[in-house]
């Protein structure tokens, strides 16, 4: 019993060191921009940079659009598979996992060929077109996360019986979706949404190759050209991700109705 407790502490301590040492190092470095004293100069630089604000807002907008499209597409699909084609579930799950297997670079080159200047649908020629393409790409990337969390949410409720109960009470399919299914998988949808937002905020490959003014390429650009600012920026990005994860935890911990 005692030995077990000691071991647990040692393992925890090692893990904490593994995670914290680089963070502390980065933080310490970020604070050293002014010679001789610690200061927040690097952070001031970062937050004061117009491009930081522009790219960050752009990526936030992208994250929102991605989440909305993703949820609107995936929730009904996952629900329909469960209700009408349960045998297809493992196949659908496999398909949704493909974006994790196919590298983003392959997907984006596919897009450039399909939707490039000399294709039948030259989306990349206009900003709106390229934005749309990026959003669709992000929806693809978010598939595994949203689908998995939605499917887990659906597993935790008796989808078929609740649907039938609602139908027997006169509800149409849309009513069933909005009043019965969604409220009961709200926490799962939110956690998938926050995960997606965290990924979209830092995504580089798609944004860079489609030449979009997103936060990922900006971070890369800054990292290649400056010393202290990238350290500050990575702390900011880390805090953001951490904040989103905390939100997942907060929503995940709340029981429906309570």
């Amino acid at each position: 019993m005692k030995a077990g407790k000691l071991w647990r502490r040692i393992v925890l301590a090692v893990m904490a060191l593994y995670v914290l040492v680089p963070l502390v190092g980065v933080a310490e470095f970020a604070l050293r921009m002014r010679r001789g004293v610690y200061s927040f100069d690097a952070f001031v630089e970062v937050f004061g940079d117009d491009r930081f604000q522009e790219t960050f807002l752009y990526s936030c907008g992208m994250a929102l659009v991605t989440v909305v499209i993703g949820v609107v597409l995936i929730v009904p699909a996952a629900y329909a598979v469960r209700l009408h084609a349960p045998r297809l579930r493992s196949f659908v799950e496999f398909v949704t996992l493909l974006p994790l297997v196919v590298p983003a670079i392959v997907i984006v080159f596919g897009y450039l060929r399909l939707y490039g200047s000399d294709s039948f649908l030259p989306l990349t020629d206009t900003d709106t077109g390229a934005d749309a393409l990026l959003a669709f790409g992000y929806v693809t990337l978010s598939l595994p996360y949203i689908y998995r969390s939605v499917d887990a949410g659906l597993t935790s409720m008796d989808v078929r019986t609740l649907t039938e109960a609602a139908e027997s009470l006169g509800a149409r399919p849309l009513t069933v979706m909005l009043r019965v299914v969604l409220p009961n998988i709200r926490t799962s949808v939110l956690s998938g949404a926050f995960l997606t937002a965290a990924i979209v905020l830092g995504e580089f490959t798609f944004a860079s190759l489609l030449d979009r003014p997103a936060f990922g390429p900006y971070m890369q650009l800054l990292g290649a050209n400056r010393a202290y600012e990238p350290a500050a920026l990575s702390l900011v990005a880390f805090a953001l991700t951490w904040g989103l994860m905390a939100l997942i935890g907060a929503f995940g911990g709340r029981r429906p109705g309570s």
Partner: protein, 362 residues
């Protein structure tokens, strides 16, 4: 014209047939049970009435309206599930109000109806609770209130009591019956529990392997079972294969013993095999031989069950017979190995059909 007509319902899933040929006519306000072992097709019949399964053949007619091809939401039925199926995100009040809101009822009318329903199920103090904060029995009451709140034409219940423990099961069963009577609603109740079916129903439909075995009042189904399946599934019965000795007077041979069955059997010939059912409680044990239908038997074992003692015996020709003794008769029980004489009234014998399907339910 009956209120609910099911006509030749059949349902196959791929190559397997869950319901073979189901016909039933129910009167308004009637309480009908579908009784049978697990997998015999009860739920499938109920789901065809509810509109959750499309019949492979046959029709569902409610109050003169053919609803066979209507979606569930347009059928105006109330459904109660074994698993309660309350909406976890809604309170008791919200659950009961669900169907009323969907129907676009006015707010104060909804509040009124919800209050009325809560009083009906005797849980007015729980309006604000969530389903996860209720016991199983309470959840099922709320589910019942939710189903009847929309004033459905028919109430469908799929083993609503099976998930509850024994005490609650009996008390909720009685409340269910009282509520059904009070509302005068036509109810179809699915169960595999014969006691439930007998206690609740005006009529019982006994099913086996997708077929209707018999339709009748609880007393009819119990006293005059028509098939070996019904005789043994509803209560306990000795199913005795006999040979006809005299078709006119109704004498048959059970092994080497001749007995009087008190039924004329005009359509049978001497030597035909017939199957008779005899309830264990219809048999007495006599100290002496001689009366009509008295058969020598050897006691194999005796089980004391409180109000009843159950004896297993063997008569000539290795035919096993079960006998239940109550009251006075159970005071002095024979020992295993004892030689005794069995006696029963000829009227207690019930002739069984070979399995006879396509029964027309009246």
């Amino acid at each position: 014209m009956s209120f609910l007509t099911l006509q030749g319902l059949r349902k196959s899933f791929g190559a397997s047939v869950a319901v073979q040929d189901f016909s039933l006519e129910a009167e308004r306000g009637e309480f009908i049970s579908l009784l049978g072992p697990s997998g015999c097709g009860k739920t499938t019949v109920l789901r065809m009435i509810a509109g959750f399964e499309a019949p492979s053949a046959g029709r569902v007619v409610i109050d003169g309206e053919d609803v066979t091809h209507l979606p569930s939401r347009a059928r105006r039925i109330g459904m109660v599930f074994q698993s309660y199926a309350l909406f976890p995100n809604l309170t008791v009040e919200g659950n009961i109000a669900f169907g009323l809101k969907v129907a676009g009822m006015a707010k104060d009318a909804i509040a009124e109806r919800v209050k009325e329903m809560l009083a009906l199920i005797g849980l007015p103090q729980l309006a604000g609770r969530f389903p996860s904060e209720l016991s199983g029995g309470q959840q099922q009451r709320v589910a019942l209130a939710r189903a009847v709140a929309i004033r459905p034409r028919i109430l469908l219940l799929d083993e609503p009591l099976s998930a509850l423990d024994a005490k609650i099961r009996v008390s909720l069963r009685e409340d269910l019956r009282a509520i059904q009577r009070e509302l005068g609603i036509t109810a179809i109740f699915v169960t595999h529990d014969q006691e439930e079916a007998l206690a609740l129903s005006h009529r019982v439909v006994v099913m086996s392997e997708g077929w209707v075995e018999q339709v009748g009042t609880p007393a009819e189904v119990y006293r005059t079972p028509r098939t070996p399946f019904v005789a043994t599934f509803v209560g306990t019965a000795n199913v005795l294969p006999c040979r006809i000795v005299d078709a006119v007077s109704g004498r048959v041979a059970l092994g080497s013993v001749e007995i009087d069955a008190a039924h004329a059997l005009p359509e049978r010939k001497v030597g035909d095999t017939v199957v008779l059912a005899l309830r264990p409680e219809a048999i007495s044990i006599l100290p002496f031989d001689g009366a009509t239908n008295s058969i020598a038997a050897v006691v194999r074992d005796v089980t004391f069950l409180g109000p009843v003692a159950r004896l297993r015996l063997v008569i000539d020709g290795d035919v096993a017979v079960t006998v239940d003794l109550h009251g006075e008769a159970a005071r002095a029980l024979p020992d295993a190995g004892a030689r005794v004489v069995l006696w029963f009234r000829p009227e207690s014998l019930q002739f069984l059909d070979r399995r006879e399907h396509n029964l027309e339910a009246g």
